[in-house]
C-alpha cells in the first residue's frame, strides 16, 4: 500500500497526542503528576497541538477537504466515520478535565473524576477507531488482524509516555515512576512489533492468483499481459511494493530508533541529573519520533493488497 505522508504524520502525531493526553489525565487522577501550572499547561497544550495537527493533516490528502464534515455521518458502518466522531467528542471531556486541572486544581470533585474517566475512555476509543480503519480492510492481509489494534494502542501510549518523560525532565520535574513506565512500555511495544513482523513474514493472504481469477482448476496462474502499458491508480495506490532489502534496513531503523535507543537513554536518566538528563530525555523523544514514523511508513509499505494478484503478484 502506498504510504501517504499525511496519513503517516496523522497517525504518528495524533497517536502520541492521545497517549500523552491519556497519561496526563490518568496521572492527575492518581495524583502522581506534579501540579505545577506550567508543566500541566505545556503537557495539555502539546497533546492538543499534536492531535489537532494530526487531524488537519489527515484532511490534506482528501480530494475535497471542504466536504470533510460529511465524514461524520456514517458512523453506523464506517470506522473512518466513527474515528471522526470520536475525535471530536474526545475534545469535550478531555478539554473540561484539562481546564479543571489547570485552573481549579483544588476542586477534584466526583463529577470531575467521572469526566476524567470518560476522557480516558474516549482517548483510547479514538485510537482504537483509527486502528480499526485498517484492521477492518479484509483485502489487506497485513492489516486485517488482531495485532493491528493492539499495536496502535500500545504505540500511542508508548510515544505518549516518552513525551511526558521528556516534558517532565525539561521542566525539572523528572519522575522515576514515569521513566520506569516508559521503559516498561518500550519493552512491550518492542516485543509486540517483533511478534507482528514474525506473523507478517510467516503468513500470506488466503487469496491467490488462482482464486482471484477462478482459474485454479486449470493449473497455476500467472499474469501474461497487464491491461495497459503504464501504471494506473490501482498499481500506484495499492500495488506499492518495497524491496525486501529496503524493508530489512527500515526494520533495523525502527528497532534502533524507535525502541532500543529510547530505552537506553531513558534508562540512563536514572543515573544522572541536570542538563545531561534533560538532553537524554529529549533525545528519546526525537529518536522515538523518527523510529515510529518509520514504523508507520513500513506498516503501509509492507502491506500487500489483493488487487496485486491481478497485476502479477504471486501472493497477497
Amino acid at each position: 500500500m502506498h504510504p501517504a505522508k499525511s496519513v503517516i504524520f496523522f497517525t504518528t502525531a495524533s497517536g502520541a497526542g492521545y497517549g500523552l493526553l491519556f497519561l496526563l489525565i490518568g496521572g492527575s487522577m492518581l495524583e502522581i503528576l506534579p501540579t505545577d501550572f506550567w508543566v500541566l499547561f505545556s503537557g495539555y497544550f502539546l497533546s492538543f497541538l499534536l492531535i489537532v495537527a494530526g487531524l488537519l493533516s489527515s484532511t490534506f490528502h482528501l480530494g475535497h477537504p471542504e466536504r470533510a464534515w460529511r465524514a461524520l455521518t456514517q458512523w453506523r458502518s464506517s470506522w473512518l466515520s466513527r474515528e471522526g466522531v470520536m475525535a471530536i467528542f474526545t475534545f469535550a471531556p478531555t478539554g473540561l478535565y484539562a481546564l479543571q486541572a489547570l485552573f481549579f486544581p483544588e476542586g477534584q470533585s466526583g463529577l470531575m473524576t467521572l469526566i476524567g474517566l470518560i476522557g480516558l475512555a474516549a482517548c483510547a476509543l479514538t485510537v482504537y477507531c483509527t486502528a480499526m480503519i485498517y484492521a477492518s480492510l479484509k483485502p489487506v492481509h497485513a492489516w486485517a488482524n488482531g495485532y493491528v489494534p493492539v499495536g496502535y494502542l500500545l504505540l500511542s501510549l508508548t510515544t505518549g509516555v516518552i513525551l511526558l518523560n521528556g516534558l517532565l525532565a525539561v521542566s525539572g520535574f523528572w519522575s522515576g515512576l514515569v521513566a520506569w513506565l516508559a521503559t516498561l512500555l518500550l519493552i512491550f511495544s518492542f516485543l509486540w512489533k517483533l511478534a507482528y513482523w514474525r506473523f507478517l513474514d510467516g503468513t500470506k493472504s488466503i487469496s491467490t492468483p488462482e482464486s482471484a481469477t477462478g482459474l485454479g482448476e486449470f493449473g497455476s496462474v500467472r499474469l501474461f499481459e497487464a491491461p495497459h502499458t503504464e501504471a494506473n491508480y490501482l498499481m500506484k495506490e495499492m500495488g506499492f511494493r518495497i524491496a525486501r532489502k529496503h524493508s530489512a534496513k527500515l526494520r533495523r531503523i525502527v528497532i534502533f530508533a524507535g525502541f532500543v535507543l529510547p530505552f537506553i537513554v531513558i534508562s540512563l536518566t536514572f543515573f544522572m541529573s541536570g542538563a545531561l538528563a534533560v538532553i537524554f530525555a529529549s533525545l528519546a523523544v526525537l529518536s522515538a519520533g523518527v523510529g515510529i514514523a518509520a514504523e508507520r511508513w513500513l506498516f503501509f509499505a509492507e502491506a500487500r493488497h489483493t488487487v496485486g494478484l491481478y497485476y502479477g503478484a504471486g501472493h497477497a
Binding site: 465524514a71 455521518t73 464506517s78 480492510l137 479484509k138 482464486s211 486449470f218 501474461f224 489483493t306
Partner: protein
C-alpha cells in the same frame, strides 16, 4: 446511505463474462470509456493522454493470464474485470460520507460525486481493484453498469444494455438479472458452472465468470516437440552465431 440496503435487493443486475470466448480485444473497455466519458460519472479524466506517461480512469480493464498445466500444456485466458456490484459490498460500508451506496431497486453500486470527499478508503476496501480515483475531480469513480444507458427511454430497447455488452464482437458478455433464477443469465450461469471471483473475501459479487471449456485431449495430438532455446543472451555474439549455425 452507507449501510447496505435493509431489504437485500431482489433484482440484481450484473454481468456474466465468458472466459471461454473472450478474445481479449479490449473493445468493451474502449466502448466503456467512450460511453462513460459522457455519462453519469463523466469525465473519465486522463492525464498526459498523448504524452510519454499517459494514465487515466477506466472502469473496465482486460487482463491476460497464463495458466500453466504440465498435463495439457495450459492455456492463455483473457480476463476482463470491472466492478462486480457485490451483495456485501465492503466499499459501501467503509465509506464515511454515504457517497458510496448500493441501490435497493437493482443492486447497482454507485458513487455520489457531490458527496464524495475523495478519501480513497473504498478503493482500499474493494478486493478486486474496481474503483479508480479521479485526481482531477478529487472523487472516486467506478463502473455504473451504464445506469444512464440501461434505463434510457431515448434508446431503442435492444440498446438498453451496458456499453461493454453492446460492443463485444464475440458475445462474451451477457447482462441481466442475476437475482432471478429463471433469467437467461442465471440459466447460463447454472448451465456453464459460472463462479464468483475470490469467494473467500466474502463480498458475494453479483457478476459471474464462466470458465473456459475443457480442452479436447487425445484426438488431434501430435508429437511436436517444444522448441529448445538457443544459447541465452549472456553468451557473446559469435558464440550465439555459432550456436545458431550448428543447430540449424
Amino acid at each position: 446511505m452507507t449501510t447496505l440496503p435493509k431489504n437485500p435487493p431482489k433484482k440484481k443486475l450484473g454481468l456474466v463474462i465468458d472466459l471461454d470466448i473472450c478474445v481479449g480485444c479490449h473493445a468493451c473497455s474502449v466502448n466503456c470509456k467512450e460511453w462513460n466519458s459522457g455519462g453519469h460519472s463523466a469525465p473519465l479524466t486522463d492525464t498526459d493522454p498523448y504524452g510519454a506517461d499517459p494514465t487515466g480512469v477506466w472502469f473496465n480493464r482486460i487482463h491476460s493470464f497464463e495458466v500453466d498445466n504440465p498435463v495439457d500444456g495450459g492455456r492463455t485466458v483473457n480476463f476482463p474485470k470491472s466492478c462486480l456490484h457485490c451483495d456485501d459490498a465492503p466499499c459501501v460500508t467503509v465509506c464515511p460520507t454515504g457517497a458510496s451506496y448500493k441501490r435497493e431497486e437493482d443492486g447497482i453500486v454507485l458513487v455520489n460525486a457531490d458527496h464524495c470527499i475523495g478519501c480513497k478508503l473504498c478503493s482500499w476496501a474493494c478486493p478486486y481493484g474496481a474503483r479508480e480515483y479521479d485526481e482531477d475531480a478529487g472523487v472516486m469513480k467506478k463502473c455504473t453498469l451504464c445506469i444512464d444507458k440501461i434505463y434510457n427511454p431515448n434508446l431503442p430497447e435492444e440498446s438498453r444494455v451496458p456499453a461493454c455488452v453492446s460492443t463485444c464482437p464475440v458475445g462474451a458478455r451477457s447482462f441481466g438479472d442475476l437475482g432471478n433464477p429463471e433469467s437467461d443469465v442465471s440459466l447460463l450461469v447454472a448451465s456453464r458452472g459460472g463462479y464468483d471471483l475470490m469467494p473467500e473475501q466474502q463480498c458475494r459479487p453479483t457478476n459471474k465468470y464462466l470458465p473456459p471449456r475443457p480442452k479436447k485431449l487425445g484426438g488431434g495430438k501430435t508429437d511436436i516437440q517444444a522448441l529448445t532455446p538457443v544459447a541465452d543472451t549472456s553468451a557473446g555474439v559469435i558464440a550465439r552465431w555459432v550456436d545458431k549455425f550448428l543447430s540449424a
